[in-house]
Subunit: 202 residues, 2 copies
DNA sequence: GGAAGCTATGAATGATGGTTCACTTCTTTC
DNA sequence: GAAAGAAGTGAACCATCATTCATAGCTTCC
């Protein structure tokens, strides 16, 4: 036994892997999945193309990891916001606002997560991601119904609609260059979301 | 001048072209853009791969034509439904129902038009397609506002939300194997759409 | 019927881009 | 410091398709 990984070496490898994921994420954010070749990602990380395969068994595996990290972050944030104190209606409004604001602030990533053409493997992850988003929204809608704040409805459909609506608004340059129009867009989006769930008009 | 296209020959060519487009459409409907290779499409049309280039200058040109035909049909149908007699609210309900029903009845095509990974050229067409869909919905929403049937709102956002919502519900197998669940889904979708636009509860 | 021009063919071509692998470089251990 | 083993390299490899092109097969016209 002439060689054993030392803790320092292990953490160096781990760091290299993380660095690679970060680089890949930024490449995807900037140019999308379809343009993110192994070479481009490796260049961005400052390593050779072949070295990518020290950390991932295939390009698809790296892509899935990149997607999971970013998507996981978003789901987590939304989940936290939706579970903060407040009535279901208030939480729904806040959730939509945060979802949309984060997406608008990082459009490239939002587009990559929600809509950009990608490997089938990433496509499958995307379905799962949307499903989780929907489940979070649906839960709050159901609470609203139970508390009598929202009318009876299929919460899953409302939740799907909210996800689809925010996505749709983002993907197409419907707006929001500057601060002002972004704010207006968010206000309108939240209003739309509350109507969609059937919240009483304020 | 020893040769000139005779009318019969011209219409034979035209028919061959149409046949190719139809075959390509069905391939795309069944397996999606990414799997629709020139060879697969040509096989489906019963011609050689090279012959595709007698009718289209590139695969992308054929893809765009396929998209335009299918998308154009859908936009046309929606436009007609939305301009039938009735209040804006009634027309909105009917429009969403028709949009969703058609999509559910031909899921493969709907998916190809709305969401499936595709060439950049098709992606650009898709943006335009969604824009037209939105414009149609937005027009009716604006009429509803003017007639005092809908509350003041950003009609573009509501229209985008409706498009996104229907698309989202379709893409994921949220439901609708049989007749019964399809009907229920449509009812819920329409109800959601009316809430979304702020129509008074029925 | 046959010359001229067009369409159809499908194997060859070429570009792209993921993956491999013989080799180099760095780490560990003694 | 030297042997052993791991990580890093990047040029070569390979698979996948879109596209081309020399050739064969039809149509037209006289």
């Amino acid at each position: 036994m002439a060689y054993r990984k030392t803790p320092a070496e292990i953490s160096r490898l781990e760091a290299a892997r993380e660095h690679l994921i970060a680089a890949a994420t930024s490449v995807v954010t900037e140019v999308g999945w379809s343009q993110a070749s192994v070479t481009a990602v490796a260049d961005s990380a400052g390593i050779a193309a072949g070295s990518v395969y020290q950390h991932f068994s295939s390009k698809a595996a790296l892509a899935v990891e990149v997607f999971r990290r970013a998507a996981g972050r978003e789901v987590e944030v939304l989940g936290e916001v939706l579970h903060e104190p407040g009535t279901p209606v208030e939480r729904l409004a806040r959730g939509v606002e945060v979802f949309a604001r984060r997406a608008l602030e990082n459009r490239g990533l939002a587009y990559a997560l929600l809509a950009a053409p990608a490997d089938p493997a990433v496509g499958a992850e995307r379905l799962e991601f949307r499903r989780r988003y929907r489940a979070l929204f649906a839960e709050v809608v159901h609470e609203g119904i139970e508390e009598g704040l929202l009318p009876a409805q299929n919460g899953e459909i409302t939740a799907a609609a909210l996800t689809g609506a925010v996505g749709e608004v983002l993907v197409d340059p419907l707006g929001a260059r500057d601060e002002e129009t972004t704010g207006a867009l968010l206000t309108e989006l939240v209003a739309m979301a509350l109507r969609c769930a059937g919240a009483p008009r304020s």
